[in-house]
């Protein structure tokens, strides 16, 4: 009797589980309201030109990640508002596996420009782009060499240089309980690859620009989603005299921040402004302004100046990278340090300081 009752019960559990598991396939979020609202005035002013249509393929992590994807989408939304372009965000539960399908569907839907935020799309994009010569494609963080692809690259090394320079000044400062007198700072990467070392090398060069005697400890967590490992690595760096640790390891970095709080030292955030995660313990964040880049690309499309087959680089000069406003920590460091960082920023923009890009070696 009991066993017979069990079977339907188990089915129920399985069905509930399956329903719970299958995250609702998010229908492509159409941005009609924003687009049409703003499109009307432009349409009356310039009646001859139909608004440009832009699709944005959202990367792993999806919208709502409070970081990369959301930031990129906000740039696109701004473009819709300011320029009157029609925009569409394309979300998928598996942007990596469905790469080719997503790109083809978008290309066939009549967009003028299809930008993908997903790094892994470099391979399917190289296959798909030649089939749609009238559509422009954009990809972020990696270069795809096709005549109708625009590659958007950030000079992360330049922003990291500033982070390293600031860290080198702060690590020996007097009167700050979060630092020790040792000339040691650290950096943790997710995996050892050119894409990650680009950050670390820029950071190290920035530190050595301030003081060649600064020791920069480096380690890799072998993954971007292991906060416990991130914490262990950071604690080990603190043991060796480091007091500021730069994280370039995604979710692993959450553990770096926890260690900073626990040991009353500093961490440095990456990509988006992470200073709020542990207020006061994150010295600054090295920002990548994906929103600025997306807005710029779309406005070039709108002007008719966007061409395929090029790599557009966003560095300090283009305001593509930079340091966070240091909302919680700017009173911890003397103004002269911040002035010095700004001075260095201008020197990099002027080409007086050249920062190594390890991906180009």
């Amino acid at each position: 009797m009991f066993k017979k009752a069990l079977i339907p019960l188990v089915f129920l559990v399985v069905i509930v589980a399956l329903v719970a598991c299958s995250s609702p396939v998010p229908a492509p979020a159409e941005e009609k309201p924003a687009a049409t609202e703003e499109a009307k005035p432009t349409a009356t002013e310039v009646p001859a030109v139909a608004p440009k249509k832009v699709a944005l393929i959202i990367a792993q992590g999806g919208l709502g990640d409070r970081s990369y994807n959301d930031l990129a989408y906000s740039g696109l939304q701004k473009a819709a508002k300011d320029l009157g372009v029609e925009i569409k965000a394309i979300e998928s539960p598996d942007p990596v596996g469905e790469g080719e399908q997503l790109l083809r569907t978008a290309a066939e839907s009549g967009f003028d420009l299809v930008i993908t935020l997903e790094y892994s799309h470099f391979d399917p994009l190289a296959r798909v782009a030649p089939d749609y010569p009238d559509t422009l494609f954009g990809i972020v963080n990696i270069a795809v060499d096709q005549p109708n692809v625009v590659s958007i690259i950030f000079k992360e090394q330049e922003g990291s240089f500033l982070a390293g320079a600031l860290a080198a000044m702060v690590t020996t400062m007097d009167g700050n309980p979060k630092v020790n007198p040792d000339k040691v700072i650290g950096a943790i990467g997710g995996v050892q690859s050119a894409g990650i070392d680009k950050f670390l090398v820029g950071y190290e060069e920035g530190a050595h620009y301030i003081d060649p005697d600064i020791e920069v400890l480096k380690a890799y967590s072998q993954g971007f989603g292991d906060p416990a490992k991130g914490k262990e690595l950071t604690l080990a760096m603190y043991e060796k005299g480091a007091d500021i640790v730069y994280q370039v390891a995604g979710g692993t970095g959450e553990g770096v921040f926890e260690a900073a709080e626990e040991k009353n030292h500093y961490a440095i955030g990456v990509d988006s402004d992470q200073d709020y995660i542990k207020p006061g313990y994150i010295l600054t964040s090295m920002l990548k302004h994906v929103d600025v880049a997306i807005y710029d690309i779309v406005s070039r499309l709108n002007d008719g100046t966007l061409e395929g087959g090029v790599t557009v680089e966003y560095g300090l000069k283009e305001d593509g990278v930079g340091l966070s406003p240091m909302k919680y920590t700017k009173d911890d460091v003397p103004q002269e340090f911040l002035d010095r960082v700004d001075e260095i920023r201008l020197k990099i923009i002027d080409g007086e300081i050249l920062v190594t890009d390890v991906t180009k070696e």
């Binding site: 589980a17 598991c21 890799y220 989603g225 292991d226 604690l235 080990a236 979710g251 926890e258």
Partner: protein
């Protein structure tokens, strides 16, 4: 000297979730129902510890929730493998996938966040200073000042050992694992023994997850266990499902993990070499055990 105490202190911290998960897997192996779902159970424990701890504003209730929620998940596993005679591996993997997907989904619907949930209001489980040992130079620096669950993890080894070898229930568990039908004939309530062993293990797996989420950190992140459950499983094979030897296996892995982290930093050694170390040790020891068994001509 300080470097040594740092490594050993780190070893005990890294080993904590391994020991707890190891004892959970060990109990399941003792009844011959290897709990592959260990990763999912740990994740369930980690998730509920953070969510309940933050919601009720009490980290101890979070700890309790981690055990209960992991036991609830274990119940599903037990139902499938004990009553519905499902294949252990399939049921275990299914539960791991279920846990991963369900928790990620709950993060989105409850907290509108992806990847990481870190409620700023959550306290960490307290660190404990042991009164007398604390004063002894070397021992104090290594053994005192750990989180509560580190000490619980040591107790879990003693508990498991006593349970298995000093209680009638433990004898029943071993008998069921040895030969289920014979145990049944002898009048042992097989089903109840199997459920009990898996559920006790489930509670420990929940604690292993809680150690990551509210003992070491104060957050939940998707797949934050990162294979620690499977490492613990390797330790169970290393220790031939004996509590003492399994614990030794967990501590060894913890030692080499703590060591590799420090070998990467400021030594100039290419990071790939030390990173291999803990896994190399696992493969190496498992090979040694296999060879020894072959020479002895016994299995397990």
């Amino acid at each position: 000297m300080e470097a040594l105490t740092n490594v050993l202190f780190g070893t005990l911290r890294v080993s904590t979730p391994l020991l707890l998960a190891g004892m959970a897997v060990l109990l399941s192996q003792q009844i011959n129902m290897l709990n592959i779902a260990i990763e999912g159970l740990m994740l369930a424990g980690a998730f509920s510890a953070v969510v309940v701890g933050a919601f009720l504003g009490n980290v101890w209730l979070g700890l309790l929730a981690s055990m209960l929620f992991a036991m609830l998940f274990t119940l599903i596993f037990a139902l499938f493998v004990i009553d519905l005679k499902a294949n252990l591996i399939v049921a275990g993997l299914a539960l791991n996938i279920l846990a991963g997907g369900l928790l990620a989904y709950l993060l989105v619907v409850w907290f509108n966040t992806r990847g990481v949930y870190s409620p700023g209001t959550l306290d960490k489980l307290p660190l404990i200073t042991i009164p007398i040992i604390d004063q002894i130079p070397f021992l104090g620096a290594v053994f005192s000042g750990h989180g509560v669950l580190t000490y619980v993890s040591w107790l879990s080894v003693i508990f498991t050992s006593l349970l298995l070898y000093r209680t009638p229930l433990g004898t029943h568990m071993r008998a069921v694992g040895e030969h289920k039908e014979a145990a049944e004939t002898a009048g042992i309530p097989v089903r109840r023994v199997q459920y009990t062993a898996l559920l006790i293990g489930g509670a420990m797996a929940g604690l292993a997850g809680a150690q990551l989420a509210i003992g070491d950190l104060t957050l939940f992140s998707e797949n934050m266990t990162n294979g620690r459950g499977f490492i613990a499983m390797a330790a169970v094979f290393f220790g031939a499902a004996r509590p003492g030897l399994t614990a030794l296996g967990c501590l060894l892995f913890g030692l080499f993990d703590a060591l590799q982290i420090r070998l990467q930093i400021g030594t100039g050694i290419p990071p790939q070499l030390p990173q291999m170390l803990p896994y190399l040790i696992v493969v190496g020891t498992l090979t040694m055990i296999a060879v020894r068994r072959k020479l002895k001509g016994t299995s397990i």
